[in-house]
């Protein structure tokens, strides 16, 4: 009988508005009790003094690369990296090879995750066949197979008519359509944010308007169709303004922002480090500050890593050819705790954006420590100082802009279904 008692942590549960030092008892994969000085027989005990006890973190946006690009990552290594970062669940994008646009592929991912991954894996299926932006996928069958949302992610649906139908049809299955909103004709080969940095370096610029225009289009289509639109990795002030206005007008829109867009700017590319190449690109300090403010005031609902592993030999290509993306599972907690340290957000609201809101957006279990809730728990030591070495991390890839940096804050325990799957002292346990 699986029984785990987490003692004397600061319990932060947005679902029940709890912020108090207490004990948490997990029994048989469920939250059994929350209270002071709980007593229980035959339990394993975790001392969480000085730490935060939170409902398990859920990463809405990641790339696990399996099937097809296992040299970058697979469901097992990606799942272990997620666990080591404090995530009890991750959603994985459909741009695998073959594309996850078929119930059999969704089945495969779920089956593989059950065997290989210590954390829950929620497949996001393609919105159109082959990510080609033309024929919509079998959403009902995909949802039945376990898909939790739909997205063509980086292969933005440029045809507004197709996007309209996809949004309309998604109401049948009540799942979010996730948009990577960038107008390809405006991106026009841009590899860094269009601004002083692109001008100095002579690299093709990707303008903020490319994101703003597509966010505005998709919000209008969401309003027209009544569908749930989720805007991935918001990076510009302009896009945030559109989202805020649309939500005020009653549009069903949610949004996420990445740790890198919350903390880094386009100046990260000044040394031509391809680990600073990401889509959408790192933006100006003004955009970054707007993202921080929007996350804190609730305009942006969630933090999502967009964990995008690429092999070293790919990132060693020149800045134009190197693929965009950076890994993020293992650094996310430390990086975004910056917002708490700066007192821009309270710990409870921070946890809401790491756990409760992502679960709500995907309509999956988790995000709560209420009695009877699924026993997915993340314990965070917000002051633990450590040095990040991606080579020693669990991901197969090392493309991180935080490599070698000393970071503050780290998940110490990741608990999935009442079982400890990661412990910072002992590593991955299953």
């Amino acid at each position: 009988m699986s029984r785990l008692l987490i003692r004397r942590g600061r319990v932060l549960d947005p679902a029940t508005e709890t912020d108090a030092v207490a004990d948490l008892l997990l029994v048989e994969g469920r939250v059994e009790a929350l209270g002071r000085d709980l007593r229980a027989e035959d339990v394993s005990v975790v001392d969480a003094s000085g730490c935060w006890v939170c409902p398990g973190f859920l990463d809405l946006h990641s790339h696990l690369r399996e099937p097809g690009q296992e040299y970058k990552e697979d469901i097992g290594t990606g799942g272990r990296a997620a666990a080591a970062g404090g995530f009890t669940a991750v959603a994985c994008m459909a741009n695998t090879h073959p594309v996850n646009d078929d119930p059999a592929m969704t089945d495969f991912i779920i089956d593989r995750a059950e065997h290989d991954s210590p954390v829950r894996v929620y497949p996001v299926a393609a919105a159109t066949k082959g990510l080609e932006g033309q024929v919509m996928t079998e959403m009902a069958a995909l949802v039945a197979a376990g898909a939790v949302a739909f997205s063509d992610d980086g292969k933005t649906i440029m045809d507004s008519g197709v996007m309209r139908r996809v949004l309309e049809y998604s109401r049948l299955v009540e799942a979010a359509i996730i948009t990577h909103a960038e107008d390809r004709t405006l991106v026009a080969g841009g590899v860094v944010n269009e601004g002083p940095v692109s001008t100095r370096l002579g690299l093709p610029g990707n303008p903020a308007i490319a994101e703003e225009l597509l966010v505005a289009r998709d919000l209008l289509l969401a309003r027209h169709t009544g569908a749930h639109l989720h805007v991935a990795h918001v990076s510009t002030r302009g896009a945030i303004d559109h989202i805020r206005r649309a939500r005020d007008a009653g549009v069903h829109v949610t949004a996420e922002v990445s740790p890198h867009h919350l903390t880094l700017t386009d100046e990260q590319a000044l040394e031509f480090d391809t680990n600073a190449k990401v889509a959408p690109p790192l933006r100006s300090a003004e955009d970054r500050d707007a993202c921080r403010a929007a996350l804190c005031d609730g305009t942006i609902d969630a933090i999502a890593t967009d964990h995008a592993p690429h092999a070293l030999h790919e990132k060693e290509l020149d800045f134009r050819e190197a693929p965009p993306g950076m890994i993020g599972f293992e650094t996310a907690v430390a990086v975004v705790l910056d917002l708490v340290r700066n007192r821009e957000i309270t710990p409870l609201e921070w946890v809401r954006r790491m756990s409760t809101n992502p679960a709500r957006i995907l309509r999956v279990s988790g995000g709560s420590l209420a009695h009877g809730a699924v026993a997915d728990v993340t314990i965070v030591d917000p002051t633990r100082v450590w040095t990040y070495d991606p080579v020693k991390g669990y991901s197969k890839s090392v493309n991180s802009p935080w490599a070698g940096q000393t970071l503050e804050g780290r998940a110490t325990h990741t608990i999935v279904g009442g079982e400890i799957v990661y412990d910072v002292e002992r590593g991955i346990l299953i």
Binding site: T199, E316, L317, D318, F319
Partner: protein, 318 residues
């Protein structure tokens, strides 16, 4: 003290630029001798690593190296064949293992010389990267202006053409500004990079007439073939009518203004025929001075005492 690599003018101090130009003054004399060769770099190996096709710049570097008695090896892998197959850094490390005394790099993407310099033991000289920098071109342009005008301080230099895609423009903006000139750029709005005035410290014009008013130096840039027809301007005819330099438009500039072009020239597009071939154009002086400036660069960067053997240390960048 000059750094290990020559990656861009942006990294140089004014005194460093002047030292290179002064050294080039001495080198120029060698080119006027019967026997145009000195033993300065005898026993040194210089690799011209040109990922992007080039005839003029490569020939200029090759002649410069040979006049200093260096062994010059040309290696032109061609970007397309390399792109997918082998990483640029692997190619560079392979060449580095042959112990060259300098590697001269050209690549069609900004930043490649910088990334190569990060992993190489040998000094890296940038011979042009993407739309980023082309430092030896700017040095030879400054050298030519100094030769003809006697100074750079206080001059007004107007660069005309596709600023957005031009490494020559960026390097020249840095170089002429550091040497005390006022720099202006003139182009159709589609070819002016965003925020150029505050980012690079120039005045930007879309009126050629205003940009040339009072200019001492008029530098026309080449319109790249792939942009001759397309998204950035409607037609060659319209470009040439609005931004092509001919004698009539040159009247907007100072009476004794000189005309420059980094070559190769699209005759009748950026410059009219007669301006290309006659004064006040100094285009062939630029080419001639290019050899002297590159001799100076090779002497200063490839001519140092060889480093002690051993693996490169961490953070070997400039």
């Amino acid at each position: 003290m000059i750094g290990r690599d020559l990656l861009g003018i942006e990294d140089l101090e004014r005194s460093e630029i002047e030292r290179i130009l002064d050294t080039a003054d001495h080198m120029r004399e060698i080119g006027t001798r019967d026997v145009k060769k000195v033993p300065t770099l005898r026993g040194r190996t210089i690799i011209n690593l040109f990922f992007e096709a080039s005839t003029r710049t490569r020939a200029s570097f090759e002649i410069a190296g040979k006049r200093l008695s260096a062994d010059v090896i040309n290696f032109s892998p061609g970007s397309s064949s390399l792109k997918k197959a082998e990483s640029i850094l692997d190619t560079a490390k392979t060449l580095d293992a042959m112990d060259p005394d300098a590697v001269v790099v050209r690549h069609e993407v900004s930043g490649v010389p910088r990334r190569i310099a990060d992993v190489l033991e040998a000094p890296v000289i940038n011979a042009g990267d993407g739309a980023h920098e082309h430092p030896t071109q700017a040095l030879l342009d400054c050298f030519t202006v100094r030769q003809v005008k006697g100074r750079i301080d206080g001059l007004t230099v107007t660069i005309v053409g596709d600023i957005l895609h031009s490494r020559v423009a960026r390097s020249n903006i840095h170089a002429f500004r550091k040497l005390g000139a006022e720099v202006r750029v003139a182009a159709p709005p589609t070819m002016l990079p965003i925020a150029i005035e505050e980012t690079l410290g120039v005045k930007a014009f879309t009126s050629l007439r205003e940009a040339l008013d009072g200019a001492d130096v008029v530098m026309a840039l080449r319109i790249q073939n792939e942009r001759l027809a397309g998204a950035f301007f409607p037609s060659v005819r319209e470009y040439s009518a609005t931004f092509g330099i001919d004698r009539a438009k040159l009247h907007y500039a100072k009476e004794d203004a000189i005309v420059m072009h980094p070559g190769p020239i699209n005759r009748g597009v950026e410059l009219s025929h007669d301006l290309t071939d006659h004064r006040p154009s100094v285009i062939l002086d630029q080419v001639r001075n290019g050899v002297a400036v590159r001799m100076a660069v090779l002497y200063l960067f490839a001519g140092r005492a060889p480093r002690a053997a051993g693996p490169p240390g961490p953070g070997a960048g400039a």
